[in-house]
Amino acid sequence: MANDPIHQFQIQKIFPIEVGGVDFSFTNSSLFMVLTVAATCAFLIFSTSGRGLVPSRLQSVSEMAYEFVAGTLRSAAGTEGMRFFPLVFSLFMFVLVANLFGMFPYFFTITSHIIVTFALAMLVIVTVIVYGFMRNGMKFLKLFVPSGVPVALLPLVTLIEVISFLSRPISLSVRLFANMLAGHITLKVFSGFIVSLSALGAVGIFGSILPLGMTVALTALEFLVAFLQAYVFTVLTCMYLNDAIHPSH
């Protein structure tokens, strides 16, 4: 059905690939991952090709993105956190451009799939755990034992800390996934109303002005959400990385 709001999330194979019974096909999702990476790299490299001392407009966009992420990471995780700058910058740019690409009609939103956002979240959490143990050894476990808590409460607090740590990848991935999914469904539903209403004749066409206005407003909101969720993902990544560097609260 044309108005099916779920249809836009459908994954379609472009080049079927199957290895050992597992489906690794190149799909529309894969295509947009490649496009996201290609567009972002092309933009960053092309815009900085002049290496202008006084930046051109495009170069200043790249510089702003770079300094924005650098500032976020430095304020959350300190100077030592800057070793993760390539990772954090890649995550931010990837999620941001993927979200913004999803705003184009016909385009597939790769971040509207939980498996993608979960994989990115797990990348962050695994980095935190591996680096946390590498840098702090067993002291990394202090993360779960806040200082200054009465001994009687310590087991309970530690349990809560462990649960909150384990729920991080879930909350990190679900937040991004749900925002993108819900936004795109809402947009589709409201724009579907326009079509359905305008089929009802003159009154319907007049009445469809309301969902049209909503669609326009929601589109603006979705652009904000696309940026904001990329930013939130980045900020939380920085905070989790800070835990790996400074595990004691």
Binding site: A2, D4, I6, H7, F9, Q10, I11, Q12, K13, I14, V22, D23, F24, S25, F26, T27, S29, S30, M33, V34, V37, T40, C41, L44, I45, T48, R51, G52, L53, P55, S62, E63, Y66, P86, L87, F89, S90, M93, F94, P105, Y106, I110, S112, H113, I114, I115, V116, A119, L120, L123, F177, L181, L187, K188, S191, G192, I194, V195, S196, T215
Partner: protein, 186 residues
């Protein structure tokens, strides 16, 4: 309008011809059969992206920002150096001015002292000349005065003797005359 676009999409992927089994597999984001493919392609694309960011894009951006920072810092230190030079020049000028002013003061006060001394000397000389002249004049006056006085007695004596002779017909003696004159004049 958006509805129309999506109906076109619908038409498009019917052309692409997706197997019906996959098409209707419930809510697409929870369709586990697509997970392996998404994970694989995400891993490939993100790894490539990370590599390009780390080795190409970010060093370039860092270089640009570093160059700018260096340039600004360089310009700042150059400006500081020029400012210091200016300050030094101003200080030198002030010092030269003060020296010149002192020198001018010295010359002025020297000249004033010299002129004063000259004047003093000339005045003293003139005063001394005047005093001499004064003394000479006084001496002259007193000479004339004594002379006159000495002649007064003689004239008075002559006059008196002439008067007495006229009145009494007989000239007084010189002794009487001088006695009488003395008693009157003293």
């Amino acid at each position: 309008m958006a509805g129309e676009t999506h109906s076109t999409t619908e038409g498009m992927h019917e052309v692409i011809d997706v197997p019906a089994a996959e098409h209707g597999a419930g809510f697409p984001p929870f369709d586990a059969t697509t997970f392996a493919s998404q994970l694989l392609w995400l891993a490939i694309t993100f790894a490539v992206f990370y590599w390009i960011m780390k080795n190409v894009a970010m060093p370039r951006l860092a270089g640009i920002l570093e160059d700018r920072k260096d340039r600004i810092a360089g310009d700042f230190s150059e400006a500081n150096r020029l400012k210091e030079e200016t300050d030094a020049a101003i200080a030198a000028y002030e010092q030269a001015l003060a020296e010149a002013r002192n020198k001018a003061h010295g010359i002025a006060s020297d000249t004033r002292a010299k002129l004063k001394a000259d004047n003093e000397a000339r005045r003293e000389k003139a005063e001394a000349g005047l005093a001499d002249k004064l003394k000479a004049a006084e001496a002259h006056i007193s000479g004339i005065k004594t002379e006159a006085l000495s002649q007064i007695e003689e004239i008075a004596g002559d006059t008196t003797s002439a008067l007495v002779e006229k009145l009494m017909g007989k000239a007084p003696t010189k002794t009487d005359l001088s006695k009488a004159l003395k008693s009157v004049m003293n």
